[in-house]
């Protein structure tokens, strides 16, 4: 499967620095696994440094239906059972989730996005046994990341994309894709594809996700679940069914209903079995939701069916209405999910940002006053009556600031602070405690626990506001630093990648595309060292194209180049897996034959000689063959150094030329005198 060129529009998205991406340990893992020969140990190490990541991977590894197998309790065991690539992909996916930034676009419903993606992941996993060649973990990752293109657009181009989403709401997928291409010159499918490749996921995987984004519905003609993209389609239908809301367009509801009916048909499930499938998916969804801090809720199959039925009815009615008559149907399965429409109808302008404050006090009058005071001062306020409620609200709403009374019976302001600081979301919130006059003793303890500021009660409204705004300035700075850090890390990763490519380029001969002299010399040094250490064998075969100058002079340099390229390829094709050919000079090549003693190397050289001698090169005005003079030298012959061995090989080439060209000569080592086999002599 060929990798396509990455469109420049994607590179532009990347350069924004705000694309959703793995961070922290995820970046490390990306780095470690950039090439196929990555060290599983290094990756293991990186994963183990993050205990929650480790936990999640192990949990997923153990949750697949593998009857009779031992539970997996270590990362190494997971690596063995699932393979390094799968573990890697899981680590990346979890890293992306845990580092997600739900505030990047005000009008995009991130919680709903992640709830849906998680449901799709779990559904895909549940269905994976029906598709050959797709593992449960692979299905899970695919389900989770399938709509990452949408996420990218929402995060990088929040306002514009919010408009696109609103305008195409309720329309088939193709409308959204067209709109995306029109506005951004790239669509969610291509973005998803590029992102998958960027994260080192396999091409087939990326293609399946792309295909799903281009065509969301499973088509009847298929008759069976044949591929990962089919799996995604059905998983998506299940996920959508679980997340029907009051504002899901009836057209979509009918679509989902039809897909589910089709699923039942394709799988050959009875109603009961479908219900069980739903039950299993929703239970696992709830479970993972808690682990990953993603909102989920109880779903009953009955309510899903009811919702779909009502949706269908609404759709029928709508069909008979004049154009533009939409019906808001009572199809609520998900009652707590804020939809995109609700968020926009808030009245908040795109881009206008009110600072969000969470007010906490167990005393109702005080709470009321605090809330009103803050609102009057222009903050966007939510509230909680005690510490545990505050925790829940904080995780859900993601306030910028928390103003809490210190003295609360069940959980003090200080204890609340500690609890918040333990979570990732909570560590960046600005926390102010309201204290009574006596509480100076706890100041030091409080600052150490992560409190940002104190205000004494009774407080003056303007004073409190001034302190909060000052705090926000610092928070703003902190956030910018955090963003810069992410950008720098990303750029570093890019730079490393670029350097690696540059490195490879500087070691490759541009014309023939084989390693260049520098690379060859490095290899030889390395091989020599290895041989000295462990006694391993290797040989070098120096090669010179006969009468090359004549070709250049007689037919021109273009022909000369063509001859060089063709010869390089011909040599390369003759090599064994452990051998390498490099362009050593103008018309010189060098083969490094690992593990080969004199005899083997000489045989190889002879094979190469014959292949090239019979290889017809066609170029402008030229149609013919060239021949090679080859010199073989081997470690077996007991040279004192690598350069001595090289010199010997060189001399052997010279000898081959003297003896008439188009032949192989073996160097005469100090300890071993190898007669040039008369068989190997051929007159030119």
């Amino acid at each position: 499967m060929q990798k396509r060129t990455i469109p420049v529009e994607f590179e532009e998205l990347k350069s924004s620095g705000t694309l959703p991406s793995p961070a922290g340990v995820g970046i490390q893992i990306l780095e470690i696994t950039r090439t196929d020969e990555f060290s599983a140990d290094d990756m293991s190490h990186a994963i183990m440094s993050d205990s929650s990541l480790t936990g999640r991977i192990l949990e997923l590894a153990n949750s697949a239906d593998r009857a009779g197998q031992e539970p997996i309790t270590t990362v190494s065991a997971a690596l063995m059972r699932l393979g390094a690539t799968t573990v890697r992909n899981l680590a990346l996916a979890f890293s992306i989730i845990s580092e997600r930034d739900d505030a990047a676009c005000k009008a995009f419903n991130y919680p709903q996005y992640w709830s849906g993606s998680l449901a799709r992941a779990v559904a895909a996993k549940a269905l994976s046994s029906h598709v050959r060649g797709v593992s449960a973990e692979e299905a899970y990752v695919a389900g989770l990341l399938a709509e990452v293109g949408v996420l990218a657009l929402a995060t990088v181009h929040s306002e514009q994309y919010a408009k696109v989403l609103l305008e195409t709401r309720g329309m088939p997928m193709s409308a959204a894709l067209s709109a995306e291409n029109e506005v951004f010159n790239i669509d969610r499918a291509t973005i998803a594809y590029c992102m998958m490749l960027d994260w080192g996921l396999p091409v087939g995987f990326a293609e399946a996700v792309e295909s799903f984004n281009l065509e969301r519905l499973f088509s009847e003609g298929e008759g069976r679940l044949g591929s990962l993209s089919d799996l995604l389609r059905f998983a998506d239908a299940i996920s959508s069914a679980m997340l029907l809301t009051a504002t899901t367009p009836s057209r979509r509801i009918k679509e989902v209903g039809d897909q589910l009916a089709l699923l039942q048909q394709v799988l050959g499930y009875t109603d009961k079995e479908t219900q069980e499938l739903f039950g299993a998916v929703s239970t696992e969804w709830r479970h993972w939701g808690e682990r990953l801090d993603i909102a989920t809720y109880e779903v009953s199959f009955k309510s899903v069916l009811g919702g779909i039925a009502r949706g269908r009815q609404a759709f029928e009615k709508e069909q008979s209405l004049p154009a533009g008559g939409g019906i808001r149907c009572e199809s609520v399965v998900a009652e707590n999910i804020v939809t995109t429409e609700d968020v926009v109808e808030d009245g908040r302008e795109f881009g206008a940002e009110k600072i969000k404050v969470l007010a906490v006090d167990d005393e109702p009058v005080a709470l009321r006053l605090l809330v009103t005071t803050l609102r009057t001062q222009g903050f966007d306020v939510t509230f909680a009556k005690n510490g545990s409620e505050a925790m829940k609200v904080a995780m859900r709403e993601g306030p910028d600031i928390i103003v809490a009374d210190q003295e609360m019976p069940e959980m003090s302001g200080l204890e609340l602070t500690r609890a918040l600081r333990r979570s990732k979301r909570g560590s960046s919130m600005y926390i102010v405690l309201l204290t009574g006059a006596r509480e100076e003793d706890l100041l030091v303890e409080a600052f150490e626990s992560g409190v940002d500021d104190f205000v004494q009660k009774p407080f003056d409204a303007q004073f409190l506001t001034a302190r909060l705004r000052a705090g926000m300035r610092i928070v703003g700075l902190q956030r910018r630093i955090e963003e810069d850090r992410r950008t720098i890390l990303r750029q570093l990763a890019d730079k490393n990648n670029f350097n690696r490519r540059l490195q490879t380029l500087s070691l490759t001969d541009l014309l023939t595309e084989v390693p260049n002299r520098r690379h060859a010399m490095e290899r030889i040094e390395a091989e020599w060292k290895s041989s000295t250490r462990s006694g391993s064998q290797f040989s070098v075969i120096m090669i010179d194209i006969d009468k090359f100058k004549g070709v250049n002079d007689g037919f021109g340099h273009d022909v000369g180049d063509a001859v060089l390229k063709a010869t390089a390829q011909a040599i390369k094709a003759t090599l064994r897996g452990e051998d390498q050919v490099a362009r050593f000079g103008g018309e010189e090549f060098l083969i490094i034959a690992r593990g080969a003693r004199v005899a083997e190397a000489t045989d190889l050289a002879e094979r190469v000689r014959v292949v090239v001698a019979e290889n017809v090169v066609e170029a402008e005005g030229f149609c013919g063959c060239v021949s090679l003079s080859l010199g073989v030298a081997s470690v077996e012959q007991g040279y004192a150094s690598a350069s001595e061995m090289m010199r010997a090989a060189d001399q052997a080439v010279y000898q081959a030329k003297t003896l008439g060209r188009n032949q192989v000569c073996t160097a005469r080592g100090d300890l071993l005198r190898v007669e040039v086999d008369p068989e190997h002599r051929k007159t030119a």
């Binding site: 009058v365 009321r368 006053l369 009103t372 005071t373 009574g436 009774p458």
Partner: protein, 138 residues
């Protein structure tokens, strides 16, 4: 105790006593409350009602705590009442609650706690009456 009308501020219905009983409700605090709520809003009523509902429970707590010598209960209730009553203008009462809290906290002899507690309970009756009247008038 006698009550006379004060003409200052929008809260012209403030009841106060000139005869040594101290002002029951402080005009300034109620003004501040009104300002916070904004023009023509029910904010003051809302907060006062809220206070009255809460306060009844707290004062009961104080009484029972005193009866059973469970001073922790008295402490918590007094602490809560202290700030909330100040917000609705019952500053004297608030001060008394503050004293009560301090006595409980210092672990001193119950000698000071009981009389202060009794005083607070008695004061509350007046506060309750004043605030209820306030609600009726608006």
């Amino acid at each position: 105790m006698e009550f006379s009308q004060e003409e200052d501020g929008p809260m012209s219905q403030v009841h106060s006593s000139e005869n040594g009983g101290g002002v029951v409700l402080d005009a300034a605090a109620l003004d501040a409350l009104a300002e916070l709520g904004g023009e023509g809003s029910d904010f003051v009523q809302e907060v006062v009602s809220l206070f009255l509902t809460e306060a009844v429970m707290r004062v009961t707590e104080i009484r029972e705590g005193l009866d059973r010598s469970e001073y922790e209960r008295v402490l918590q209730a007094a602490h809560a009442l202290k700030s909330s009553s100040a917000s609705v203008g019952a500053v004297e009462f608030a001060r008394c609650c503050g004293e009560l809290e301090a006595h409980c906290r210092s672990g001193e002899d119950s000698e000071k706690v009981r009389p202060t507690g009794a005083r607070a309970v008695a004061m509350y009756a007046e506060v309750q009456e004043a605030l209820t009247a306030l609600l009726r008038e608006s």
